[in-house]
């Protein structure tokens, strides 16, 4: 039997969590394999069978209370398709409007509270500063106050549009449950204006603290955090990024278009591999095949999420965000393979969503009362896809002629990224562990590779504002614990 050393990172200690990282060393003390385990399964694909399909947008929000909006809307779009119904323009735009607010909410939370501590404060900083307080110290108290105000504003817009912020209820087959009143729109606009200022400030902060800092920039572009993969994201008819609707485009690691397809053809392009040691599957590009946890052009692994969307699209449709996008790709070569640049793309997307939100509010169509199309066709089968904050989300339902669900397939963003997350963790570990020598910084560095994706494991486990407690155990070849590192 091969002799191995074991390094185990429980992102959330044994009893608390739903995800774990293990790193196995070979005889010579180099990284042999890295495992990122998802240890929980709830089985929505099974227990949704038999439910009336119009209930799905409300049932599937309960997959995740942190990102319920993307599930609500992907599900509603799948039910539109099941009933072969095209919602009125106003309904689509009201859905997108609420979604933009949610996008800002989710991205800002990640940037300031979750990813920020790793990146803004930096991995070399003392652990007691690597938290939201440390981020606020670095960016200043004024920005800190604005962060809370922006999150609250987003929450209020979500309540106005969705009925509730956590677990919205407004989207139904053929449209939305209720039009927006002039008064609603006034309230939304006031908040949206503040959110635009806030997003601009966030992009500036990122450029100042990360891009213009030699130390941070070098970290972002180091080979340890580079992974050359395929990318997938949603684009509109002009090739620009879209988060609510459009075709899915895949590019290869050199940036060439590999495939472009409608969401309902996803089965021709994506397949999923099953490993016995985790509850989460590994999606890959069907026309390449599953080649294991490796990157490169010959690997079927593709990535989704902010960086992937930027790599795939020809640009962003709003002016301020487009300018920031151009700046990013003047600095990094497109397609950018720097995993830590997910953070950069994420803050620029916050700006895009804010601009798009204001655009939609000013569109006279969202004032229309016509927000419903009553379906007349016999329900059958449908796919709904949106870009969730963390990447492409696909819901696929099949029903009987009464509209009762017979089959459900879900591929969530973190699942699409599963192969990429594992490969990134392995690569970071390889760069930091040589001949059994484990660098003191490995705990932080491996975590950074993992957290850049903002993995949402409640779509298995999820962590909120604050730190994800990490523990790293090193075992000798007899599997005896010889060292334990944890923070803070």
């Amino acid at each position: 039997m091969q002799e191995t050393k074991l390094i185990k990172i429980d992102p959330i200690t044994r009893l608390e969590g739903h995800g774990k990282i293990h790193i196995l060393l070979d005889k010579s003390g180099n990284v042999d394999e890295a495992y990122f385990q998802v240890v929980e399964l709830r089985g929505f694909e099974k227990f949704c069978q038999g439910r009336p399909v119009e209930e799905m947008p409300n049932i599937t929000t309960r997959i995740c209370g942190v990102c319920p909006w993307n599930h609500h809307l992907a599900s509603a779009k799948a039910t539109d398709a099941v009933y072969k119904v095209d919602p009125p323009d106003a309904a689509k735009k009201i859905r997108e409007l609420g979604y933009c607010s949610f996008f800002i909410h989710d991205h800002a939370t990640h940037f300031y509270a979750l990813g920020g501590p790793d990146f803004i404060v930096g991995p070399g900083a003392p652990s007691q500063e690597r938290n939201i307080a440390g981020v606020l110290k670095k960016v200043g108290a004024e920005i800190g106050g604005n962060v809370l105000k922006a999150l609250k504003s987003a929450h209020e817009i979500e309540e106005i549009v969705g009925g509730r912020a956590v677990h919205p209820v407004f989207a139904i087959p053929g449209g939305v449950s209720k039009p927006l009143s002039g008064k609603d729109l006034e309230k939304i606009e006031e908040r949206a204006k503040f959110m635009l200022d806030f997003s601009q400030m966030t992009v500036n902060t990122f450029e100042k603290t990360v891009v213009q800092s030699k130390q941070h920039f070098n970290l972002m572009t180091t080979d340890t955090y580079r992974l050359k993969t395929h990318y997938m994201g949603m684009i509109d008819e002009k090739g620009k990024m879209n988060i609510y609707d459009g075709q899915l485009k895949v590019i290869d690691p050199e940036g060439k278009t590999f495939a472009q397809f409608k969401a309902n053809d996803y089965l021709q392009h994506i397949a999923e591999y099953v490993e016995p040691w985790t509850y989460l599957k590994f999606p890959y590009l069907k026309n390449i095949g599953w080649k294991g946890l490796v990157d490169g052009k010959t690997s079927g692994i593709y990535r989704v999420g902010p960086l992937a969307r930027f790599n795939v699209a020809d640009g962003l449709s709003t002016p301020l965000a487009q300018a920031a996008y151009e700046k990013m790709f003047e600095t990094l070569k497109k397609p950018a393979h720097e995993t830590l640049a997910y953070h950069w793309a994420r803050v620029i997307e916050t700006l895009y969503a804010s601009e798009r939100l204001l655009e939609l509010i000013k569109d006279p169509v969202v004032r229309s009362d016509k927000v419903r199309t009553i379906p007349t066709a016999t329900p059958e089968e449908g796919v709904g896809a949106v870009e969730a904050p963390r990447g492409t989300l696909i819901h696929h339902y099949k029903t009987d002629p009464e509209g009762l669900v017979q089959a459900v397939n879900l591929i969530v963003a973190t699942t699409h990224n599963h192969g990429g997350i594992c490969a990134s963790v392995k690569k970071a570990a390889q760069g930091l562990i040589k001949k059994g020598k484990v660098s003191d910084e490995i705990l932080n560095m491996v975590e950074m590779a993992f957290r850049a994706y903002d993995p949402c494991l409640a779509c298995a486990t999820h962590t909120l504002p604050g730190q994800m407690p990490l523990e790293l155990d090193i075992y000798n070849s007899e599997k005896k614990l010889i060292r334990r590192m944890s923070r803070p």
Binding site: G163, V169, I374
Partner: protein, 326 residues
């Protein structure tokens, strides 16, 4: 109010973390209430380690919230630990109180669930591989916790002091609960910290208690926003659901799906709903209907099991589908 802060611990079971979001929301909106609280354990949002929590003296924490259902051994261990360390323990949210949406898994088994999840149309799995509780690679075992066959509510596992339902619980209810603890004005043990009346009592819509001759699914009708949805033929769980949520879904022109669970006057939410429907389904001159006509009307309610027990199957008298007959 006393000078010492209230010590709060938050434990998680099988959860979507929406309850955590509700607590974050509370912290944003009600800084004064939250400033009176010192959070000593909250794995989702702060750093305190489980080990530190384990080392605290028993019953040294004033208040505990537990959200999520009990779906595996780890969920159970956390629940027992939280019980041991806290003086007052609140079952927080729909999953802990009644099983919640994932409780619908009690309509199936873990075996059936695996057989479905690892054989979806996108899964390339000709050998029908499934995750194993133990996999050995290079002499090292990777272990996965086993999923229970039946999802349980919190009170099946530990002794619960109070219940705070909702998916997630609404801010005013949480605020009231914390205030009651701070001032020592708590009701008798075992109570639900929400009014013991049905949702219809706080619903702003006008109800005429009409007989319904036809049932509409939500996609089939554009309902009047002022009138009772049941009067308009849309199934709404208001009559079988506890009030306290502010009727937010109704506000959004959508029917209630019962996330607050039943009042204490109803043993079972679904049974109460069937009884309520029984009295309103039909024509004004119902005596004239044949049995066949009544059946046809009842058949218009699609999936009554999933609809009437969407949030409460594990807490219901049904509990789960009887698997022995399959």
């Amino acid at each position: 109010m006393s000078q010492t802060k209230l010590k709060l611990a938050i434990g998680l079971g099988a959860t979507c973390s929406g309850c955590d979001m509700a607590i974050v929301d509370l912290a944003e909106k009600l800084t004064n209430v939250f400033n009176a609280v010192d959070i000593v354990f909250w794995p989702t949002a702060s750093d305190q380690k489980l080990k530190e929590f384990e080392q605290l003296p028993d019953a040294s924490v004033d208040l505990g919230f537990y959200h999520g259902s009990i779906a595996n051994e780890e969920n159970k261990e956390i629940a027992h630990l939280l019980r041991k360390k806290t003086k007052t323990l609140i079952s927080f949210g729909a999953c802990a109180c009644h099983g919640g949406v994932p409780g619908l898994a009690n309509l199936t088994t873990t075996k059936e669930l695996f057989a479905t999840v690892y054989a979806t149309p996108s899964t390339a799995n000709p050998d029908l591989k499934q995750p194993q509780t133990k996999t050995t690679i290079g002499g090292y075992s990777l272990v996965l916790p086993e999923k229970f066959d039946t999802v349980q509510c919190l009170n099946e596992c530990i002794d619960v002091d109070y219940y705070l339902p909702g998916c997630p619980p609404e801010v005013p209810l949480v605020e009231k609960a914390i205030e009651a603890i701070l001032t020592g004005k708590l009701p008798a043990k075992g109570e639900t910290l929400a009014p013991n009346r049905i949702l219809c009592d706080e619903c702003p819509r006008k109800r005429e208690e009409k007989k319904i001759p036809k049932i509409y699914r939500i996609q089939q009708i554009i309902p009047d926003q002022e009138k009772c949805l049941l009067d308009q033929g849309v199934i709404c769980l208001g009559p079988s659901t506890r009030m306290g949520c502010g009727a937010r879904c109704l506000e959004a022109n959508m029917p209630c799906r019962g996330c607050m669970g039943p009042t204490s006057k109803a043993l079972d939410q679904g049974a109460k709903m069937i009884a309520s429907l029984g009295s309103i389904l039909g024509l004004e001159g119902e005596e004239a209907m044949t049995e066949e006509e009544v059946k046809q009307l009842m058949d218009q309610v699609k999936d009554p099991l999933g609809l009437f027990y969407m949030f409460t199957l594990p807490a219901s008298i049904l509990k789960r589908r009887n698997m022995t007959q399959k």
